[in-house]
Subunit: 451 residues, 2 copies
């Protein structure tokens, strides 16, 4: 494939630079041999790429910061990687309407900072928020550490500008607080993983700023007690703004890179926060009592922002700890919170049976865990066992009415389980919707449910 001359000015040609656009943060999706990279500078560039690609049948992979974990932004053979990272304008922040209008390449943390500068709050907080972009967050309907209280990206997207296959520009949604005219195309695009169109502008709903969060850290002798504590905390009238779970394997992994203060031998830890204006100290004391009552062996309550950060540091270090521990698949199952204990028990059973080491941690308050399956990358059989073990745990989650992906997306890695989760009637309509918006199948081909 040769780019038309009008696009070559925006193409990345330096081989070492180009190679960085081949993959995202996922493990196990191979980079292709031949692809082009175009870094769009404006809406017109996006229109031109999607017009050209539609007419020539060229695959297009939209890319933000390439921080995705499901292989949804890996380049495809003979295709164009369309990077939106240079479209990073803050177009508006309106403190009366409580919204922000942003370009897709804007880094999530920068959107949060722009809101904060007006006393407002953009809640979505994926672990990658320091470098991931809003376009990618919209594409995957990203979640993060705040969802237990604040929900996910979809809850904050009021409207979009998208470029469709063929180059037509469409606006969805609205700027107003309410509006029910016609079908909700905004919701259809949020979480569509780049398969229906390319987002070039997002209108985001903002909230008033909460207080700086205070943290409680509790450790437990059993995972069952930690799970029970989660259920009790969810019944609290003032829902924690963060409710994270670490199992023994995860704790050992973070302790191996630095001492985050977890006592030796504990089976689980919960990290809980309140950001409720005027009540953070009261809330964390109440949460601490609930945690103690549920059987916590040690409970530490932060008095100030510095202590809060220190108590959360172990959770923030989890990704690095697991990477240091070894090569692994990171997964993203979500089950009803009441089934969390059973999901964790199933993970232990699968680990014992298969010999695959599995860590179980993540957004416990949502029932959304990121089990990690460790393997030896030099040993094909070891990798295969890890994949099998993962498949076994997926089946358990689905049998509970859970989902194969709480927040990372289906991408390339989970497409095979989608039919079982959504069922034939839904899958057939999803395929038809894809064909309606992208009749030539150029947008992120092979992803989600069209592999």
């Amino acid at each position: 494939m040769t780019l038309p001359s009008s696009l070559t000015a925006r193409a990345v040609t330096e081989p070492e630079v180009k190679a960085t656009y081949a993959v995202d943060e996922s493990v196990g999706v191979a980079a292709p041999d031949h692809f082009e990279v175009v870094r769009a500078r404006d809406l017109d560039d996006v229109v031109e790429v999607l017009t050209y690609a539609h007419h020539t049948g060229t695959p297009v992979v939209p890319q933000g910061a390439r921080s995705g974990l499901a292989g949804g932004a890996v380049a495809v053979e003979g295709g164009i990687v369309l990077s939106l990272e240079r479209l990073r304008s803050l177009l508006d922040v309106d403190p009366v309407e409580c919204l922000a209008v942003v370009s897709p390449g804007m880094v999530t943390a920068d959107v949060k900072a722009a809101a904060a500068a007006q006393g407002l709050f953009y809640p979505p907080d994926p672990a990658s928020s320091a470098f991931c972009t809003i376009g990618g967050n919209v594409a995957t309907n990203a979640g993060g550490l705040c969802c237990v209280k604040y929900g996910v990206t979809a809850d904050y997207v009021r409207g979009l500008e998208v470029v469709l296959a063929g180059g037509e520009v469409m606006r969805t949604g609205r700027r107003t607080a309410k509006g029910v005219a016609g079908l909700d195309l905004t919701g259809l695009f949020v979480g569509s993983e780049g398969t229906l169109g390319v987002v070039t502008e997002a209108t985001l709903r903002l909230l008033p700023a909460p207080d700086p969060a205070l943290t409680v850290l509790a450790t437990f002798a059993t995972l069952g007690e930690a799970s029970e504590a989660i259920l009790r905390l969810r019944r609290d009238r003032h829902r924690p703004s963060l409710l994270e779970l670490l199992d023994a394997t995860s704790i050992a992994a973070v302790q191996s890179i630095a001492d985050f203060g977890f006592p030796a031998g504990c089976a689980a830890a919960l990290i809980v926060q309140s950001d409720r204006p005027g009540h953070t100290a009261e809330d964390v004391q109440r949460y601490a009592a609930v945690l103690t009552d549920a059987g916590a062996t040690e409970v530490a309550v932060a008095d100030d922002a510095q202590e809060s950060d220190a108590l959360l540091a172990g959770r923030r270090a989890l990704h690095h700890g697991l990477v240091a521990k070894g090569t692994h698949f990171i997964e993203d199952l979500c089950v009803p919170v009441g089934d969390l204990t059973r999901l964790i028990a199933a993970g232990h059973e699968i680990s014992a049976r298969t010999g695959v080491e599995i860590s179980m941690s993540g957004h416990g308050g949502d029932g959304n865990l990121h089990p990690s399956f460790f393997y030896d990358p030099a040993d094909e059989a070891s990798r295969h066992r890890a994949e099998e073990a993962f498949g076994d745990l997926v089946k358990v989650a689905l049998s509970m009415g859970g989902t194969i992906t709480g927040e990372h997306g289906v991408g390339s890695l989970k497409a095979r389980w989608l039919p079982q989760e959504v069922g034939c009637a839904s899958l057939e309509r999803q395929r038809s919707l894809k064909a309606l918006f992208d009749p030539r199948g150029i947008l992120n081909p092979g992803r989600v449910y069209w592999s």
Copy 2:
């Protein structure tokens, strides 16, 4: 049209009873001469109707409580009215997952009560909540008095069971707190006004219960000052849970049915509430100070629930007051809140120019007003003038980036403005989506955007 024998047992044959199913609460949509009414008793009945209708090309109008104001549930000639009012089961309330699973005919107030019995809260609160049903709320993405703080029905629908044209049953969404597997078909069905399928079950997200609300009532000498007060209240860190606006015409209409305590000659009133746990008294005092500072002539602050109800009573009586005042179209425009003053001024200008009396009231805190246009039903020219005046105000709202419908739906009455609001690219895809889900066009034909 003759119903198949298997459906006649569920048909309404008594002419007086049948006639009540011909129309909803809208003004200006004619009832047809010939139609059948089937009251479904279970999922199988809905499947049977949609199978029969699809194969015979018979129009189907899904109906809840017929409280809609946009003509979205009026029977159509030669069609079947499919009433869901008998499917009114509370299937589950889960206090840990914070959700309820309900049948579509369940009355909204009953869902709210079922949640409250578990210390939980289902926020959507359309003015008709004492008799409207969840199925209708989902179909129109209903709003109400709480939206300024809590949003609309779409924000609380986690999953649906729907019957598609042809009778296939499809599940959308999920029971889990998070989930991003595949396209969001739930959002597509919410607000689709019965044109894509028939909802037979809804999984609803619940919140912890707030405190009983306290109310402030403020009156103003000018509408401009009341609008300015709305903008200031929206900047408050603790957003009111209710922020309603009445203009002089609306105040006179409610005062004509009883004395609700509005002083003579005031140009506008704002009713403001807080339901923030532990802080309602503090919030309403702060709101009162903001209202006074913005120029309110009188401010009354409730001390308890009884006073609160009394101060809200005038707003609750608005619908009756306007009906008593005379025949009118009730509209549902929503503009950016910052444009509210200009929208109201435009209404006054149109009224002065056309001689049509227009009241301007509604959910001021959202920028969502329900202007009512009064006319003499015996005078065709008067009615025509009211329609023209309405069209003029719609154009103003659209020019502000507003919408033709904040919460009532497009229905039969507003379809002609939809193309201008959403644009060609969106309209074309909406039409294609309709064709995808309902290729024979049997579901609520002539509604929304296919008239």
